[in-house]
């Protein structure tokens, strides 16, 4: 059993299976993006829809009621995929190219209008290496060439540029989705804009594939080599960061253990080694710390209040480098609440101490 939809195709109503509908929609969308967006292409699209409608009409003719995915595939094989349209004609592709190039040159003036809502991403599409320069150029709304030039100059200063580039490569995320690309150039993330972007990208992919087939692959190989280089750097730097992160983590672990140990020592009253160091007036405080309940609470409180921010900072600094999962919103909330509880424990046990030995402090 399948769900059906009824569609108006070229002026006739058809019942169509849901999967068939999806396939037909995709096909028409492909055709639409292939034809471009001038007035004549709308006409062509109407003609094509009408032809599809007619074919369906012939096949149905009272024998069947619902159009299936098989029918849609048959229609597509008769009309052909958009890329087959040009196999003989070929002209449309050449006409379309100046159109595609035009928005590129207008890009800068266009984007100047909504400045300020951009986000910094790496631009993999216009990348020479990792897309840092291209992304920065999009963010600052200046020419990529300028940024690359500045970067090359920085390379010459004892390789400072290289270090900064590597750091940027790790810290700045790549714009992967259409929404992120829009954010990168500061356009509003609306359904219309995303659709536009996706269509542009589909065109770009097609161009790239065409170019790949036509060229001697030399350019692509250079690009691939570039990608390989970037990957190699990423791996090396990742190992390096993992090492540093491990060292810091170990240090933190030792510190926390030390802290617990110190409190335990205070609590159990084995105070040989601090006895001399502590002034005599602090004895009441020591005794209070030795009181099991208040010392335990304080210990817990301190571990939570110090440990949670530590974990947060650690994740923030090294999460990307170590390829950890992104922190989910609920994790942040749980962390925050637990931290708050820890802080509360500290304050309460602190206040308890103060109230007990208030005379000493005030």
């Amino acid at each position: 059993m399948k769900k059906t939809l009824s569609v108006n195709l070229g002026g006739s109503v058809y019942h169509i299976d849901e999967d068939a509908y999806q396939e037909l929609m995709d096909y028409l969308q492909e055709v639409k993006s292939h034809l471009g967006s001038d007035a004549s292409s709308a006409e062509v699209l109407i003609d094509i829809e009408q032809r599809i409608s007619e074919l369906f009409g012939q096949w149905m003719q009272g024998r069947r009621e619902v159009i299936t995915a098989g029918d849609v595939q048959k229609v597509i094989s008769i009309l052909g995929r958009p890329e087959q349209f040009d196999n003989v004609e070929g002209e449309k592709a050449e006409e379309a190219e100046p159109e595609k190039a035009a928005p590129k040159s207008e890009k800068w003036s266009d984007e100047r209008t909504n400045y300020g809502h951009r986000k910094l991403y790496r631009d993999g599409d216009n990348a020479k290496m990792g897309g840092v320069c291209a992304g920065l150029a999009a963010y600052l709304n200046v020419s990529v060439v300028l940024i690359r030039l500045i970067w090359v100059c920085m390379f010459l200063f004892y390789g400072t540029g290289l270090l900064i580039y590597i750091i940027c490569l790790i810290i700045i995320p790549e714009a992967r989705t259409a929404a992120q690309r829009l954010e990168m150039v500061g356009e509003d993330v609306t359904i219309d804009n995303i659709e536009k972007k996706v269509r542009q990208e589909a065109g770009k992919v097609k161009d790239r594939v065409d170019g790949y087939v036509r060229s001697n692959r030399a350019h692509e190989n250079v690009r691939n080599a570039g990608n390989g280089f970037v990957e190699a750097i990423r791996v090396v730097v990742k190992v390096f960061f993992a090492f540093i992160a491990g060292a810091i983590g170990l240090a933190a672990f030792v510190t926390v253990i030390g802290l617990i140990f110190a409190l335990l020592v205070l609590w159990t009253g084995n105070l040989h080694f601090i006895q001399g160091a502590w002034p005599h007036e602090f004895m009441p405080l020591q005794q209070a710390l030795m009181n099991p309940s208040s010392a335990t609470w304080m210990t817990f409180g301190l571990i939570l209040a110090i440990g949670i921010p530590f974990i947060a900072i650690f994740r923030l600094l090294f999460g990307r480098a170590l390829n950890m999962k992104r922190t989910a919103a609920w994790e942040v909330w749980v962390g925050f609440i637990v931290w708050f509880i820890g802080l509360g424990l500290c304050i309460f046990s602190g206040l308890h101490l103060l109230s007990t030995f208030g005379g000493f402090w005030i």
Partner: protein
């Protein structure tokens, strides 16, 4: 030793021209030729009588000029926008009204020009073939 070197050389030139590329080139040239004739043939079909898109497609398919129907729709719209074709809606017994395309005066002039060009071309090719 000398023969050996020349043998090496020959093998190297072979690797520079894989068969695949050659095949693709042939397909490309064929496609270019068909493309050149497509407009002419479309006009030829329409000279006899005003036709519906399906009829034009049938004609072109029988001449083995197009592979898929989708090729024709952009072409017809372009020719119409260039003022070479015009169309009228004709009621159909089976379904919605259909577009019937016919040649305009400009279209006829172009067709005559193309016809002359074709005559010249075919005679020169025949000459070369002799």
């Amino acid at each position: 030793m000398f023969a050996n070197e020349s043998g090496n050389h020959q093998r190297r030139t072979c690797t520079f021209r894989p068969f695949k590329t050659t095949n693709m080139d042939i397909e490309n040239v064929k496609s270019q030729m068909r493309k050149g004739f497509l407009e002419y043939c479309t006009l030829l079909i329409l000279r006899k009588k005003a036709s519906y898109t399906s009829d034009i497609i049938e004609g072109l398919k029988s001449a083995q000029l197009i592979v898929v129907e989708g090729t024709l729709y952009p072409l017809l719209t372009r020719l119409k926008n260039d003022g070479l074709l015009s169309y009228e809606w004709v009621e159909s017994t089976q379904g919605p009204p259909r577009k019937y395309y016919s040649l305009t005066d400009n279209g006829v002039v172009l067709l005559d020009n193309l016809g002359e060009a074709w005559q010249e071309l075919s005679s020169s090719i025949n000459h070369l073939n002799e």
